[in-house]
């Protein structure tokens, strides 16, 4: 029995290491490119989540947009205001994932104040933006860079960095061998502790 059980365990371990993926865990990722949010929903290591519902929420909880992922698990949402967008992906079967797109990533040409009603889009003058944090690095040259050039740079940077960020995000969630070993170690340890208590009870009784 013991040999068989250990065999079973090793077989499971081998298969799990051969395909170190998470099944049921849904993940969402999104990045900003200009005035759109490009996002995706996926099961880490196991492919994209197709046709799942996507909700975009404002910080106050109101719904900004709803959509569903396409056949490649991707979705796009248009940004209207420069506020934090909380992306909630819901598979309907208990799968759920969230991703926060921060206002700092969005173009400063968008109106940000939550007090403004949703249809106040305008404010194309860059100077109207209340906070300039992401542009701070290029601040000295900012006066000479036109809004179009700035947009083009934003777009190019987003295009190059987007996949990298997505990869990084997925990497962070990958299950590694040490996680598996760590968990098994805990189980061995807990069993040992239980042994101790049972032995002590037996000694007394």
């Amino acid at each position: 029995m013991r040999r068989a059980a250990v065999g079973l365990l090793l077989a499971l371990l081998a298969t799990s290491v051969a395909a170190p993926a998470e099944a049921h865990r849904l993940k969402a990722f999104a990045s900003v490119d200009g005035t759109t949010i490009n996002g995706s929903a996926y099961f880490p290591g196991m492919g994209m989540a197709r046709g799942v519902a996507v909700e975009v929420l404002a910080p106050d909880g109101s719904i900004l947009a709803t959509t569903t992922t396409d056949d490649e698990g991707r979705f796009t949402v248009t940004i209207r205001r420069r506020i934090d967008h909380r992306i909630v992906v819901d598979g309907g079967d208990g799968h759920r994932a969230e991703y926060l797109v921060r206002a700092e990533e969005m173009p400063q040409s968008l109106a940000g104040l939550p007090e403004l009603s949703a249809d106040v889009v305008a404010a194309t003058t860059a100077s109207a933006a209340p906070s300039p944090p992401p542009a701070a690095a290029v601040a000295p040259g900012a006066t000479t860079i036109g809004p179009e050039l700035e947009q083009a740079i934003d777009h190019a940077v987003a295009r190059h960095i987007g996949p990298l960020r997505e990869q990084l995000d997925a990497f962070e969630d990958a299950i590694r061998f040490r996680d598996i070993l760590g968990g098994l170690g805990w189980i061995v340890g807990l069993t040992g502790i239980a042994c101790y208590f049972i032995a002590r009870k037996d000694q007394r009784g």
Partner: protein
């Protein structure tokens, strides 16, 4: 799927799940004797690792649960074993979550216990492969029902959720039926006393033997 995540269920469902699960884990712990403890640890480890074995199904994909096997071997002790596995899966893999731990324990633990009541005795006395397979398949079906029920109690529609979860888990049902049946047959042959360690209603006269 089988592991519900944080933020899906409503507060009352989570709270009730936690309370009932605590009671079930406590009851299960009291049923663990010295001779059964190694099996509890071993089965808990198997459960912990089984969640990493994936079966791709269409757009989604699912993983083994093994709660039928845990049930027929451990009986009520399967509940603490599953609880431990779930806790570690939540911590190490990010499966499920801490607030839904109670509900998940019940969703996977109660089917295990049900399988024990239903199949442990016939498995010892009858054809082990058939009853083992029934336990493996039955536990998954019950777990899917539990998932759908938990979602329904949190204000979602029962039938669509149940359909979604059950259809996705059909391959798991098949795989676990084969696996549990094979292991049961093997245990009966090699180490039959394991299957008798925790038979339900042992004190009752063996009228059906």
């Amino acid at each position: 799927m089988a592991h519900l995540v944080d933020g899906v269920l409503s507060m009352p469902v989570l709270a009730a799940g936690a309370v009932v699960a605590a009671a079930a884990v406590g009851y299960g712990l009291r049923r663990i004797g010295a001779e059964r403890l190694p099996y509890v640890g071993l089965m808990s480890a198997a459960f912990f690792v089984a969640s990493l074995v994936h079966i791709p199904v269409g757009p989604s994909n699912v993983h083994l649960i093994l709660n039928g096997l845990l049930g027929v071997v451990l009986g009520w002790a399967a509940v603490p074993a599953i609880f431990t596995g779930l806790l570690l899966q939540a911590m190490f893999f990010g499966y499920g979550g801490i607030t839904v731990l109670g509900v998940n324990t019940l969703i996977m633990g109660l089917p295990a216990v049900a399988c024990w009541y239903l199949f442990a005795r016939p498995m010892r006395d009858g054809e082990p492969f058939v009853w083992g397979a029934a336990a493996g398949a039955g536990a998954i079906v019950m777990t899917c029902g539990g998932v759908a029920l938990a979602l329904a109690l949190s204000g979602r529609e029962f039938l669509p959720a149940a359909q979604l979860v059950c259809v996705a888990h059909l391959p798991v049902v098949a795989v676990e039926a084969m696996l549990t049946g094979t292991i049961a047959a093997f245990l009966r042959q090699v180490k039959p006393e394991v299957l008798s360690l925790s038979l339900p209603m042992l004190r009752r006269a063996p009228a059906d033997a």
